[in-house]
Amino acid sequence: MYLLSLLIFIPIGTALLALLIPSRLASSFRSIALGVSIVQVIILLLILSQYNYEGGFHLIEKIPWISIDLGSWGLLQAEYFVALDGLSLSMVALSVFILLIATISSWTIEKNRKGYFILLLILNGAIIGSFCALDFLLFYVFFEFMLLPMYFLIGIWGGVKREYASIKFFLYTLLGSILILIVIVALYISVKTPESSDRIVHTFNVLHMQDVNNLIPNSLLSLDSTKLLGSFSFRYWAFLLLFIGFIIKLPAVPFHTWLPDAHVEAPTPISVILAALLLKFGAYGLLRFAYPIFPDAAIHFSWFVGLIGLISIIYGALNALSSKDLKRLIAYSSVSHMGFVLLGIASATVEGITGAVYQMFSHGIISAMLFLIAGVLYDRTGDRMIGNYSGLASKMRNYSAFVLIAFFASMGLPGFAGFMGEVMIFFGAFQSSTVNGLIPTWMAITATLGLLLGAAYYLWTIQRMFYGPFSVKNVTSDLTDLDSREYIMLLPLALAALVFGVLPQLLLNYINPFASEFVNNLFQSGNVLTP
């Protein structure tokens, strides 16, 4: 049962087939995309039924992909290697769910439907592929495959300043990709497969890269390498390159300025995918690649990682407070929330890592809801300025109820998924100083200010936009309440936010084994590395 491959390649294959359908049949494309998403949901359910809660990887598929004999350089080997563990399973589940919602949300796209939905399907496959790939080269291919559809989806279907936003998005992420690629090459020449005896077999297998015994002695990234560049060894540099490469995606301050622009200009479904899924690759990359492959460097730089997380939390929240555009506000709140993830990762405690993954998942659900909500208003009025609205609650009753739910969920109200992630991160970040001494307690304590600021910008927005006497500036159209399609999108998200807030064990069953293995491995190899 090649369930994972089916999950990845059904959308991509469908996209290729859909190319053959003439664009005259415009409305068929959205049905096709919806069909694919529904099939993916079914496959996901099959995967969940097969997955057991134990640690390690499940549903492994491993096929040789590229194998080139490079003579004295050894053997180049790349595999098609996909599998799921607790981390990737939660991300894949999130992706399937969000992509379904995003497809429904794309229903109103009018402009060039064929192109739009084909790009959406390619994006779909690439996202799931990157979350499953355990071969670094394969990951990179999928990762780059996401970039291009995203660029076009923002650049063609976006708002007024879409060209600027899409090129900014493209350049930022391309920079990140290049940094990652450099490390992939460096890793490739430094790591051999454990099977290689006298003849070195190079590999892109991430699991091999994570094992320090597979480092080729005296290679660029080997432990005993004494070569320094500046004051750091090459290993430390490689970690930093990966780190910067991934936090551009996250995004963390100061590499975040592409995000508000991309969100403001992107069409609603693309904003949803961007916030709910693409941002997760930043944290996913750190958890899957940067930390396990370079545990020594990760431990060395954890203070710095924590600081960047903390700065993102506060800085993002402050920027959200000063935003006059609803979508920009939500985008900055994403920066703030992803800062919590970074803080949890930096703590390198079981609680912190669990919380980080939980927060990734919950942010995926809640941010999707937030952007859909912004989209509902934009669809009706074409205006996102907070100051132009007042008293919407009296006109759009049900819509306001969902806004209230989404805002309170996002500000970390207990009972919603966001709270669980954040509280675990706080547990981890605070006890880090006693458990492993990586980040100081003041970081955890200061980070709680992010919650206060979060409450402030959301409540202020509610106060300005939804309560008070009703008035709307420059709007001619009638403000109707939610229609049934919007219910279909918002209700499952609200329920998911609630279910994972009330029954956290549903998700923790998958995350717990991953988190404890992650921390164990980190410190086992970390201790080997740092005397």
Binding site: T349, F408, P414, G415, V423, L452, W460, Y467, G468, N512
Partner: protein, 639 residues
């Protein structure tokens, strides 16, 4: 390891009491707007059932000692976090009071909110609040307590903003939530400290105490910050007077009887976790608050704001009692206060309601200067209001006297015979004993006795609103808690506490002080022209501070916005540099590289021209060149 719960009768009873208000809330929210009139009925009936069950539960618990249940909620790092419940006599009486007062407030609201457009939302939130409050009371796990703690905050926010088209109501709601949030962050940090050092959050777990002394104190202080927020203590009490923007029954239930008392309840529940330093902080904070609140109440003209400041003062008294070794007295006072303060608020609601029914003008019905002489027109309201006010003032034969007595007695013991900071704290209790009758008298005098400024043709509230007032007034009589009007030692021993010996000096002193206060108040207010009384806003400059912080935050946020502009301009700069560089290389490509290539091409052309002239098409000349080449080749080979 957490033991599996035993599903006994009292378990199902507890669960029903907790869940019924939630069911009431959900059924209200699922009602269509068209049949909104059903919402008050459904929720009131359900709350009545819950109250009856709570009474049964109370007797069940007092018969068979403590009851505790625990379900594993989730595991984190192999440690279990449980949804656990602990019912002892203290908890079960609190549950009883919350459900009964909530039911009475529901009943009152049927009349009070009869003409409101948003009854569905109102009753839905009221039910949700009751659920959250019960969860907070029952829980014996700090995380669960915190969760319900936040949920009551949200329902309070939503209910303060009930009149959501009114600007001031929304602002008050936002302010209340944010000031509470500051406290909540303190609570959260306290939780985090306990989890990090002990790995458990079960209130009864002895491991909680086995943490370094510094961190135990720190955790205690942090949790107390949460109490400061929720129970409106200094310096975060300013949200409570503003919260009076909400409907009056909400003020009665949430901002007088139950939610604001949750902090005091929590202090009692986790008192075993506090160190000496924390108790000292609690006592001092409480004493500042109680005096500040009493002074505030003296100068207000809005009937609800007088009561709000009085609530702050009374909460301060309870908190001080908790910190100053008068825990039983403080808790007793909490229970009594819930009754008489809810009664006062409902009375105020009845007055406002009556005024609104008959005055369509823009007369501010909440301003006590506009009231007066209502004694004859609203007799039931007057009597119940007066009984509750007497309890607030601590007059003998009321419940307020009994509990204040207990507090004063216990605090006198606590303060000891040697003069220390404890005496200052204790003296504030006496100051409040003096001030409370004065502002209470002032309130009663202005509303019911003074000469009216306007002619009021008001009528008594409907029966459904009168019943709750009468019940609450009856509950404020001493007879319910003590058989003797002045001797706490003969208190009906519902809480199974042992009470200290009565200190007759303390009793006598307090009666004398109350008498003096009443006489003074009568003398001051009897002939005073109410209009001329100077208005000072006793926000104690705390609003200035919080506004300053707000402005600072907004400035900071502008700064970060500038920061983003800076980052962007750097990026734009780099891109422009790159584009410029690209133009330069483009130019270089065109003129230098291409020029070079062109140059080579030209030179090739030149060489070609020369060689072309050689290749002139004559076989003889080719032969000649071939021969020459061959000769050169041979010569080169030979040498």
């Amino acid at each position: 390891m957490i033991a599996a719960p035993e599903y006994s009768f009292s378990f199902w009873l507890t669960l029903s009491v907790l869940v019924i208000p939630l069911v009431a809330s959900l059924s209200c929210f699922s009602i269509k707007q068209k049949i909104g009139w059903l919402a008050p009925l459904i929720s009131s009936v359900l709350l009545l059932i819950a109250s009856i069950l709570a009474i049964v539960l109370f007797f069940q618990v007092s018969n068979s000692a403590e009851v505790s249940y625990s379900w594993v909620w989730f595991t984190l790092n192999q440690k279990e976090i449980a949804f656990s419940i602990l019912l002892d006599s203290n908890t079960s009486i609190m549950i009883l009071i919350v459900t009964v007062i909530s039911f009475l407030v529901h009943l009152f609201s049927i009349g009070y909110m009869a003409e409101d457009q948003h009854q569905v939302r109102y009753f839905g939130m009221l039910g949700f609040f009751t659920f959250a409050m019960l969860g907070l009371v029952m829980s014996s796990n700090l995380l669960i307590t915190f969760i319900f703690w936040e949920l009551v905050g949200v329902s309070s926010y939503r209910l303060i903003a009930h009149y959501q088209e009114k600007e001031s109501a929304i602002k008050a709601a936002t302010k209340a939530f944010l000031l509470n949030k500051i406290g909540d962050l303190g609570f959260l940090i306290g939780l985090i400290i306990f989890w990090s050092w002990s790995g458990t959050l079960e209130i009864g777990d002895p491991n909680l105490l086995r943490i370094p002394a510094f961190w135990l104190t720190a955790a205690g202080v942090c949790i107390f910050i949460g109490v400061i927020g929720k129970s409106a203590q200094f310096p975060l009490f300013n949200w409570l007077p503003d919260a009076m923007e909400g409907p009056t029954p909400v003020s009665a239930l949430i901002h007088a009887a139950t939610m604001v008392a949750a902090g005091v309840f929590l202090l009692m529940r986790i008192s075993n976790l506090f160190t000496e330093d924390v108790f000292m902080l609690i006592a001092i904070t409480g004493s500042i608050t109680t005096v500040a609140g009493a002074i505030g109440a003296l100068f207000q003209f809005d009937i609800k704001k007088v009561l709000a400041y009085s609530t702050i003062s009374q909460l301060g008294l309870m908190v001080m009692a908790m910190g100053a070794g008068a825990m039983q007295g403080g808790y007793f006072h909490l229970l009594h206060h819930a009754f008489f303060k809810a009664g006062l608020f409902l009375g105020a609601g009845a007055i406002i309601h009556a005024m609104h029914q008959n005055h369509q003008s823009n007369l501010d019905a909440q301003d006590i200067r506009n009231l007066g002489g209502l004694r004859k027109k609203l007799p039931v309201t007057f009597i119940s209001f007066a009984i509750c006010a007497a309890a607030l003032a601590g007059i003998p034969f009321t419940s307020g006297f009994v509990s204040k007595e207990l507090i004063l007695t216990q605090m006198t013991t606590w303060a000891g015979n040697e003069i220390s900071w404890r005496w200052i704290v204790m003296s504030s209790a006496w100051v409040v004993t003096l001030l409370t009758p004065i502002y209470t008298f002032r309130l009663i005098w202005f509303i019911f006795f003074s000469k009216p400024q306007h002619q009021h043709n008001v009528e008594e509230a409907p029966v459904i609103m009168r019943i709750p007032m009468i019940v609450l007034a009856t509950g404020s009589l001493a007879i319910l808690s003590s058989l003797s009007p002045i001797h706490i030692s003969s208190a009906i021993n519902l809480l199974q506490h042992s009470y200290p010996e009565i200190n007759s000096k303390v009793s006598l002193a307090s009666i004398v002080i109350i008498g003096i206060a009443l006489a003074a108040a009568f003398y001051i207010f009897k002939n005073q022209e109410v209009k001329n009384q100077k208005l000072i806003t006793p926000h104690f400059y705390l609003d200035v501070v919080s506004n300053y912080f707000m402005v600072l935050t907004l400035k900071l946020s502008e700064a970060t916005k500038g920061g983003d502009k800076l980052i962007d301009s750097v990026i734009h700069g780099i891109s422009y540099l790159q584009i410029t560089f690209a133009h330069i290389t483009g130019w270089a490509d065109r003129y230098l590289v291409d020029g070079f290539v062109d140059g080579i091409a030209y030179s090739a052309k030149g060489v070609g021209a020369i060689t072309r002239s050689l290749a002139n098409g004559k076989i003889q000349s080719y032969l000649l060149w071939a021969m020459a080449g061959l000769v050169i080749f041979i010569v080169w080979i030979l040498y």
